[in-house]
């Protein structure tokens, strides 16, 4: 039996609509009850640092708003006319039909309807994302799978140095756009061209169509994106590198660039030179405030809890341990990590640095997490890096709280990032600014 959930963070598979709206000029078509799409927009865009509709999200999303009659008689005709209407009204390049619980439970044959449009040469795919199938990470993976299986065609030639990146999940990583762009810059710095698929300037349908032409696929996450990479390997023979740690700060970003460079066969000396330059700049800023950063006057934290998805919890843990000299208290992984990946994810928190490991709890239920945190010895004020739900528990244990994971209702996010050298410095600024702002 899956858990009950207090303080929901990762919602349902139909949250994949946010994946679709993150593809430039792509239009989701939602075949679901009324309310689903609006709630998921609220959850994953508005409550992700007030990111709004974008080009064609929010209340512009076409939706069949299924009512009782559709539950009884099915909603297939309604879906067909919804797609026809969408093609006339919405100015888009790529269309993704997503189903909600109601459509999936009444058993509408969405695939047949979508194939009618595919046969007319319309760039449209479908994914069955009924909310009961899992959280929005599951939905994200289903959309990637739909694009790969239903839309992509083999490329005539592979382009050397061209890399598809599967990393930050739009919306779920509230800093997704900044994070993907920082990954793109990092990869560019070692001579690779990154196809980030989502966000500003990523290329929309052209970026999707270019996926099969990549030299290799890069998965930067403990497990999300792995299925897509494996599917692409099977369908187009594209090799992939699975690098589990989203790099934050000098230690991890250096390791990341080295690993990617080795995989791509880039000269190690060249990579080392790039790393050296970037590290010098990074430590210039960090060194300047080093005296403040080791002060004890303001109860600067030494121990930390992450309450976040596997990707961010791991990334931030590595950064705080290796770059900043923190000690892990305990980490809470908040999405529904599939059973086959749980051991791997837990193992990534072993030997974060020589002799330093962290315990991990998998729970989507804020009530369980709150009770567990209060059970730890919090003699010194801990750092709690979680969502806006975790403000209360941070208060109860006299900790410092920063919202870094969905939902974030206490920040505005435009293009902020925590990835790379720049991201590490951002995180240090944000933690200590928060701490100082509480002193006055």
């Amino acid at each position: 039996m899956s858990e009950i959930i207090q303080g929901p963070r990762h919602f349902c598979a139909l949250g994949a609509q946010q994946t679709v709206t993150s593809i430039e000029r792509a239009i989701p078509i939602v075949h679901a009850g009324p309310g689903c799409s609006a709630k998921l927009f609220q959850a994953m865009a508005c409550s992700a640092g007030n990111q709004g509709a974008g080009y064609a999200g929010g209340d512009s999303i076409p939706c069949s708003n299924m009512i009782e009659r559709d539950v009884v008689f099915g909603g297939e005709d309604k879906l067909r006319s919804l797609i026809e209407g969408t093609l006339k009204i919405m100015d888009g390049d790529f269309f993704v039909v997503l189903t909600g619980c109601t459509a999936d439970l009444v058993g509408d044959d969405v695939g047949s309807i979508v194939r009618e449009f595919q046969d007319r040469g319309i760039p449209i795919v479908f994914a069955e994302t009924g909310g009961f199938k899992g959280d929005a990470y599951k939905g994200h993976e289903l959309v990637l799978q739909a694009i790969i299986e239903q839309h992509l065609q083999a490329a005539a030639v592979k382009q050397q140095g061209f890399v598809n990146v599967f990393a930050a999940v739009p919306g779920h990583d509230p800093f997704w756009e900044g994070d993907l762009h920082e990954l793109k810059r990092l990869l560019n710095s070692i001579g690779l061209r990154a196809n980030i698929l989502f966000g500003y300037g990523s290329g929309g349908i052209d970026a999707l169509n270019a996926i099969p032409a990549a030299e290799f696929n890069l998965v930067v996450s403990p497990y999300i994106g792995l299925k897509a990479a494996q599917l692409l390997e099977k369908k187009f023979g594209t090799p992939y590198l699975h690098y589990p740690v989203l790099p934050i700060g000098a230690t991890e970003t250096g390791k990341f660039l080295g690993a990617v460079g080795d995989f791509a066969g880039i000269d190690r000396k060249f990579i080392d030179k790039i790393i050296k330059n970037k590290e010098d700049e990074y430590y210039h800023y960090l060194s300047r405030s080093a005296d403040f950063l080791i002060e004890s006057r303001y109860n600067l934290p030494k121990r930390f809890f992450n309450i976040n998805d596997a990707s961010y919890a791991l990334a931030v843990s590595r950064f705080l341990v290796n770059d900043m000299g923190y000690i892990p208290a305990h980490q809470f992984i908040t999405e529904d990590v599939p059973a086959e990946f749980r051991q791997d994810v837990a193992d990534y928190f072993q030997e974060l640095a020589p002799g330093i490991s962290s315990g991990v709890t998998f729970s989507q239920d804020g009530g369980v997490i709150n009770e567990a945190i209060q059970g730890f010895d919090n003699t010194t004020p801990p750092l709690l890096l979680g969502s806006s739900w975790d403000v209360d528990v941070a208060d109860w244990v006299n900790g410092i709280h920063l919202s870094m994971g969905l939902p974030i209702t206490d920040r505005l996010i435009l293009y902020h990032t925590y990835v790379g050298y720049r991201g590490g410095l951002n995180l240090v600024e944000d933690i200590y600014t928060k701490l100082l702002s509480l002193q006055g």
């Binding site: 039996m1 899956s2 858990e3 009950i4 959930i5 207090q6 303080g7 929901p8 919602f11 349902c12 598979a13 139909l14 949250g15 939602v30 009850g33 009324p34 309310g35 689903c36 799409s37 609006a38 709630k39 998921l40 609220q42 959850a43 508005c46 409550s47 709004g52 509709a53 929010g58 209340d59 512009s60 999303i61 076409p62 939706c63 069949s64 708003n65 299924m66 559709d70 539950v71 006319s81 209407g85 969408t86 006339k88 009204i89 919405m90 100015d91 619980c101 109601t102 439970l105 009924g130 909310g131 009961f132 899992g134 989507q364 009530g367 806006s388 739900w389 403000v391 209360d392 209702t409």
Partner: protein
């Protein structure tokens, strides 16, 4: 007529009030037709965009009861509104000097397995955990589409759990697919409160006035104190105990009849609390009538006349100045049935013109069936006929019409400001329903409108760097051409 509290399921708005979600044309004709029939017949759209649902509106009211808990029986996507509601609740608590903490909310997180075997065990667990974690005085169990389709016996489980844990466990039936009108969710929440929480009056409190509202700032304490009365804001930020005794009030006021029609009528019919049957208190004409009817019911006629005279005199110079500055400016309104007409009253009294309006739905009547509280009739009578669109939050219709009308300002209660901005039209989204209320509300609105249109730099910049997600073909069509199976 009649509020049936026997059935655990609220009667739908389209059945009770003949509500519709599509219309375009003359407001006077709409009113006239509404009087002649019990149903206008729904016009379908062959294309639509996502709207809200009853389950969403239910939580708007129930999660903000201070010492209750909500258990939502469904998959977790249905909880997407909850983080935003938590922010609203925390900031509202802070404003009211109440302890600030997260909402008392649990989702049963129904999964694929539950779709086959049912979610009974999970619902029981969630109710028990809600009791243990939050120690609430009542638990509201709200339903979702998935829970309804798999057929869990939510009413039966709630009754059983109520016996078991010793506090009211109230089943609220609000699955989204049942009603086309998401405002039905308000009725569903109030239905549960009327059935299971409100108790017969121990003793009437002749100075206590119920005010059915959302989260608006406190304007009634001052207004009512001048009549020797006290406001009792319901339902957000009340306690369960406070709700149990709303039957003791001298009268019930509303600020939006889309919100309060069911609760106000239910309190009158079943608990003898008179509902003030008058237009809503926006604009001078509405506020006059509202206060006079209140004065008549609680026997404070003289004090009301004094209050009206004092307030009118107080705002007169400022109002005159605002009317000069705003004369002839065109406003476009996007709001709900009750409140949209209230905003129309405000802009008319500020000397502005209506460029167009998209009203989310239309109730043919209120639950009280009394034409004195028919807001559409009120605005037609006082400000003349106008052109109205009932658009069910259909953004493509709203954008099309707004683009054609090119108003000086777009005033929204829920949605659409992003599209106004991309069209280069200044706008605001009014989150505080009390901001425009009463005589001072006219001044508040006038100043906000003036501030909003005086420097359109930001919206012009945004408009210059954006394209709408609609085809040129669509923007050239008639805005309501998909209504009634067209296009």
């Amino acid at each position: 007529m009649g509020i049936n509290l026997q059935d655990p399921v609220v009667q739908l708005r389209e059945v009770r009030l003949g509500s519709i979600t599509g219309y375009a044309g003359s407001a006077a004709k709409l009113y006239e037709k509404s009087q002649q029939t019990t149903t206008l017949g729904e016009q379908e759209r062959s294309f639509s965009q996502c709207i809200s649902c009853s389950a969403n509106q239910v939580k708007n009211q129930l999660v903000s009861i201070r010492d209750a808990a909500v258990v939502e029986h469904g998959p977790t996507g249905c909880s997407g509104d909850i983080p935003g509601r938590n922010l609203v609740s925390r900031s509202g608590r802070k404003q009211r000097n109440l302890p600030v903490h997260n909402l008392n909310y649990i989702s049963t997180n129904l999964d694929e397995n539950d779709m086959i075997y049912g979610g009974r065990d999970k619902l029981e667990t969630a109710i028990r955990e809600a009791k243990r974690r939050f120690d609430p005085k009542a638990i509201f169990v709200t339903t979702t589409c998935a829970a309804a389709i798999i057929g869990d016996d939510v009413a039966g489980i709630c009754d059983m759990m109520e016996e078991d844990i010793g506090i009211p466990v109230v089943a609220i039936f609000c699955e989204g697919f049942r009603s086309r009108v998401w405002a039905t969710g308000f009725d569903a929440a109030y239905h549960g409160i009327l059935r299971k929480i409100v108790k017969p009056a121990r003793q009437k409190q002749p100075d206590l006035i119920n005010i059915i509202n959302f989260q608006g700032c406190d304007v009634f304490t001052d207004l009512l104190s001048r009549l020797g009365l006290r406001p009792n804001y319901i339902v957000p930020y009340t306690t369960v105990e406070q709700l149990a005794h709303i039957s003791e009030a001298a009268a019930t006021l509303q600020i939006c009849n889309t919100l309060g029609t069911y609760l106000a009528a239910g309190l009158e019919e079943h608990f003898g609390v008179p509902e003030i049957k008058a237009p809503l208190p926006y604009g001078v004409a509405g506020t006059d009538a509202y206060l006079r009817e209140l004065g008549r019911v609680v026997h404070k006629e003289a004090a009301v006349e004094q209050l009206i005279a004092d307030e009118k005199e107080r705002i007169a110079p400022k109002l005159e100045q605002l009317r000069r500055n705003l004369a002839g400016k065109k406003a476009f309104i996007g709001a709900g049935d009750g409140h949209g007409h209230s905003i129309l009253a405000i802009i008319e009294e500020l000397g502005m013109q209506l460029a167009g309006s998209c009203i989310w739905h239309h109730d043919l009547k209120n639950d009280n069936g009394d034409e004195r509280s028919d807001e559409l009739k009120h605005v037609i009578t006082h400000y003349g006929n106008f052109s109205i669109g009932i658009c069910n939050k259909q953004s493509f219709e709203l954008v099309n019409l707004m683009n054609k009308k090119q108003p000086d300002i777009y005033i929204a209660r829920h949605t659409g400001t992003i599209w106004a901005t991309k069209l280069g039209i200044p706008s605001f989204l009014m989150g505080d329903e009390h901001f425009g209320l009463g005589y001072q509300g006219l001044i508040n609105y006038g100043e906000l409108i003036l501030d909003t249109i005086s420097n359109p730099a930001f919206v012009k910049n945004i408009a210059a760097h954006n394209k709408l997600p609609y085809t040129d073909w669509w923007l050239a069509q008639e805005p309501f051409s998909f209504l009634g199976g067209g296009c």
